[in-house]
């Protein structure tokens, strides 16, 4: 067992739907740092701070940070080169 407490991008499905207006856990995202392409549902999400920190499962670079905000959520883009919704 690891001491790691991360969950997956699945956990952000509702918040991302609010921001993007559609299901995003099956969207593909590409990491700037290592070039890995993963479905959003497979990304690692760390929830211990005030925002949810989304990291690349390959190289652990921070791809996104999501905050619920007082009334509406906000997504900060970090090392995410591109994001492509599924067909």
């Amino acid at each position: 067992m690891t001491s790691d407490t991360h969950v997956d991008g699945n956990a952000l499905g509702g918040l991302l739907m609010e921001v993007f207006g559609r299901e995003m856990t099956d969207a593909l995202g590409c990491c700037v740092s290592c070039g890995a392409v993963n479905e959003v549902g497979a990304l690692f999400v760390y929830r211990s701070g005030p925002g949810d920190v989304v990291r690349c499962p390959g190289c652990t670079s921070v791809l996104l940070v999501a905050t619920p905000g007082p009334d509406r959520p906000r997504v900060y883009f970090s090392s995410l080169r591109w994001l492509q919704p599924s067909s």
């Binding site: 991360h6 699945n10 549902g41 497979a42």
Partner: protein, 250 residues
């Protein structure tokens, strides 16, 4: 002006508890009637929002345990004793009470009978819930997709859906259910008695050459153990879909 609900747009709706089912001493299923439900896929979840009298709000995600059934959605909630939300849902909510939720959510950790197989499902504790929706959908659809389900629980009393799983195992050719009890095993137990590991998955999972679709759900440590063992056994990472709860849930 009110807009019609658009598929993919999420709005909070008020669902009514229409039934409660005791699954284990710590897990209760809540059958919810959702007025604006658009249907869902096995593996999807809902966000539940609770609002305190002072306006404080908190949200949690719960997997749906049943396949699409009109406006009915069943979630199974495990009571985390120091949790903020689950003790209320498990102990306080009564039939007729109302609950704010939104969904369905999720397009990654989903499986429908038409997606085919073979299928490997691995559930740790209440991680069985979304996998049960997949298994029930297979049964309801009369699908013949071959399924192997590996479930881990601490003891026999903590196995969620125990009787239904035994019935499915008995009645459904093509479904094999293997259990491991990590803390206590009853007399005469013939399943495994330890945490999941590579050797167990080598025995239970399909050979990598069969290219099964793999779904693992549970606490983070459980999912990590399953996913890394599967990769080690030669399964393609893209074929392994995971849903981690974190250390406890809540």
């Amino acid at each position: 002006m009110a807009r019609a609900a658009i598929r993919g747009r999420l709005t909070w709706q008020v669902a009514e508890v229409v039934d409660r089912i005791d699954e284990t001493p710590r897990v209760r299923s809540l059958v919810l009637e959702c007025p604006a439900w658009i249907g869902h896929l096995p593996g999807q979840h809902v966000d539940v929002r609770l609002t305190a009298e002072d306006g404080y709000q908190t949200e949690r995600s719960y997997s749906i345990g049943t396949p699409a059934d009109g406006r009915r959605v069943t979630i199974s909630v495990e009571r985390i004793d120091d949790g903020e939300v689950s003790p209320y849902l498990v102990d306080e909510l009564r039939v007729g009470d109302r609950l704010e939720l939104r969904g369905p959510i999720g397009g990654y950790f989903v499986w429908s009978p038409g997606d085919g197989g073979p299928l490997l499902l691995a559930g740790g504790g209440s991680g069985i819930v979304p996998l049960m929706a997949m298994l029930r959908a297979r049964v309801t659809a009369g699908s013949e997709v071959a399924v192997r389900l590996l479930m881990s629980a601490r003891s026999i009393d903590e196995v969620i859906y125990r009787d239904e799983l035994a019935a499915i195992s008995h009645d459904q050719p093509g479904v094999a259910i293997v259990q491991t009890l990590t803390r206590a095993q009853p007399a005469g137990w013939t399943g495994y008695g330890r945490r999941v590991d590579r050797e167990m998955l080598a025995d239970v999972a399909w050979p990598a050459s069969e290219e099964p679709r793999c779904y693992a759900c549970g606490p983070t440590g459980f999912v990590e153990a399953v996913a890394s063992a599967l990769v080690d056994l030669g399964h393609q990472p893209q074929k392994i879909r995971t849903e981690r709860f974190g250390p406890t849930g809540g």
